[in-house]
Amino acid sequence: MPNVISRDGSIRQDNWTVIPRPAEGESLDIPADQPALIPADLWLAGYDHFSGRQDIGVWFDSHDEPEILDGHVNELPVIAVNFPKFSDGRGYSIGRLLRERFGYVNEMRAIGDVLLDQLQFMKRCGFDAYVLRADKDITKAEKCLNFFSQGYQAATDTDIPLFRRRAS
């Protein structure tokens, strides 16, 4: 079961499992006894079958377009975004779009090559759950989430940029 870090740095466990994209011609292999995250486009393709299920969430890869879920995001209990490499920053834009443009309110989870020093950016871009890469020291997550007490910009965590706070 993965350890999941929350926004405040606390650690919990759950059993959401990420189902990889099946090879061409293969079908999704969803476990019967465990909640599962499936590729977002396949959830949409099987909408009649999956919609409304609280044990099925979706995941996006960094090159995927979150626009495909416009209008459906809040039907999902969990949306995960994969960071295939920690230096691939596309997931930050996906996170902000899901939250700020499509109004997603449930759990948004960072998965993949998730390292300590990227948590602060994920937090500001709307991620509220992080599955740290297994070899990293999870006890340092809280510190790394909280190096900064404020930021200059508006992002998902605040819609008031510093220049507006200063003016008031």
Partner: protein, 550 residues
Amino acid sequence: MYVYDEHDRQMAAERVAQFRDQTERALAGELAEEEFLPLRLQNGLYVQRLAPMLRICVPYGMMRSNQLRRLARITRDYDKGYAHFTTRQNVQLNWPALEDVPDILAELAEVEMHANQTSGNCIRNTTTDQFSGVQFDEIADPRPYCEVIRQWSTFHPEFAFLPRKFKVAVNASEHTDRAAIQVHDIGLQMVRNDAGELGFRVHVGGGLGRTPMVGPVIRSFLPELDLLTYLEAVLRVYNRYGRRDNKFKARIKILVKALTPAGFAEKVEAEWQHIKDSPTKLTPEAINRIKTYFTEPDYMALENATDTLASQRFEHRGFDQWLTHNVDTHKKPGYAIVTLTMKKTGTPPGDVSDRQLEQIADLADEFSFGEVRVTHQQNVVLADVRQDRLFELWQAITPMDFGTANLNTLTDVICCPGGDYCALANAKSIPVAEAIQRQFDDLDYLYDLGNIDLNISGCMNACGHHHVGNIGVLGVDKKGEEFYQISLGGSSQHDASIGKILGPSFARDDMPSVVSKIIDVYVSKRTEEETFLDTYRRVGIEPFKERVYA
């Protein structure tokens, strides 16, 4: 200039603590080298040929005397007693020890300096015209907007891991472009529309490096309050769609080219429609608040010192030359803009000793309200000097080697650190600069040749901006030997253009004579009023080729 408030100070201190923690984890082996790499780069720290190199940010080139003195102290305490002014208005230290860097950053933070985002695949230091706020022909002072961009881009959570580095430059002068905005990822030209409202013409996708390009206009007028939302839209499109599979095709210029400028503009416009009225939209109060930091200093009501200067010119030929070349017209009567040249032959362009940093600080306090500006030509500007004190200033700087009256001439070379220091370089650049400076040591001849930009880069990364030099020199490696390729006709001005390669490259020893031949062609072909660039544009590259490869 801008002064930190409690918010800036808090974030600067938190950043130092964060980097200290990151460095400790790296030294303890908890961060793999490839994981620490972007973290240290975003703090300006390279690991170079001989030692780490720390690039310290000088936001849009502005510095106060106390900051210069602190830099001097840091070079003494942690380095070898000198620093280097870069072609992006920053300052580099060439020999700091990795474990000392957190302490250096703490010392910098005390004087409101930092090394944030001076490297790495993020939004870099925004640059602008070194004559901002003191010249006649600017639409508005661009520095408040640079500061607005600085704050927005600092630790931006969405854009910390872009496909590649990202550079923004702002220009406000109608007739000149000292900021070279058309060869930046985003170039912002301040303009007024027909209604007289302030805004920006937006160029996107210019750049040097492997694929040099002049940035096309993707929006002819962007109202000033929309600046940040529009930048955010450009960056978001780039972050999502810029190539990440090939480092050499990852700059935004490649995306703009692939989509076509019109196609790219359309994508940005669509994204912008969603966010243009978001809280990131600037307010007049926010802009006015920043503008209060860039008000005029306490100028005295003076007359132009025309007669005094005329007689001093008559008495002292050296002063006359210096006044003609290194001093520019100020918007206020009785004041002048002085450029201190850091181009003494025999010293690497842009290099200064700790003592010189302190001398510059003293000069700033004595002559120019305690402020200086670093230029992308690697010189230093005192922007507010009284005309009736110019002679005194000239006498003071001559023994300091800041008075070489070669500004904008052939020997005012832009030059990267090259193979002497930089791990990326294919060839040395400093010895080429020096050899050419020695070849052209007659000031009268240089003045006769007029303004010529000679830019030298030690590799494709083009830190010496060779593509936009009227004469550009690029170091190349041929089977382990250093050769130099020449291009002609580049310009970073409003008429920006990328230089054309002359032909096969040359050995280093041949470079002074090759440049001499190029100059000879210009001298023989020019009409009375033509600059080198004018002549080149009229006659084309062929006459130069014929002479050089004869």
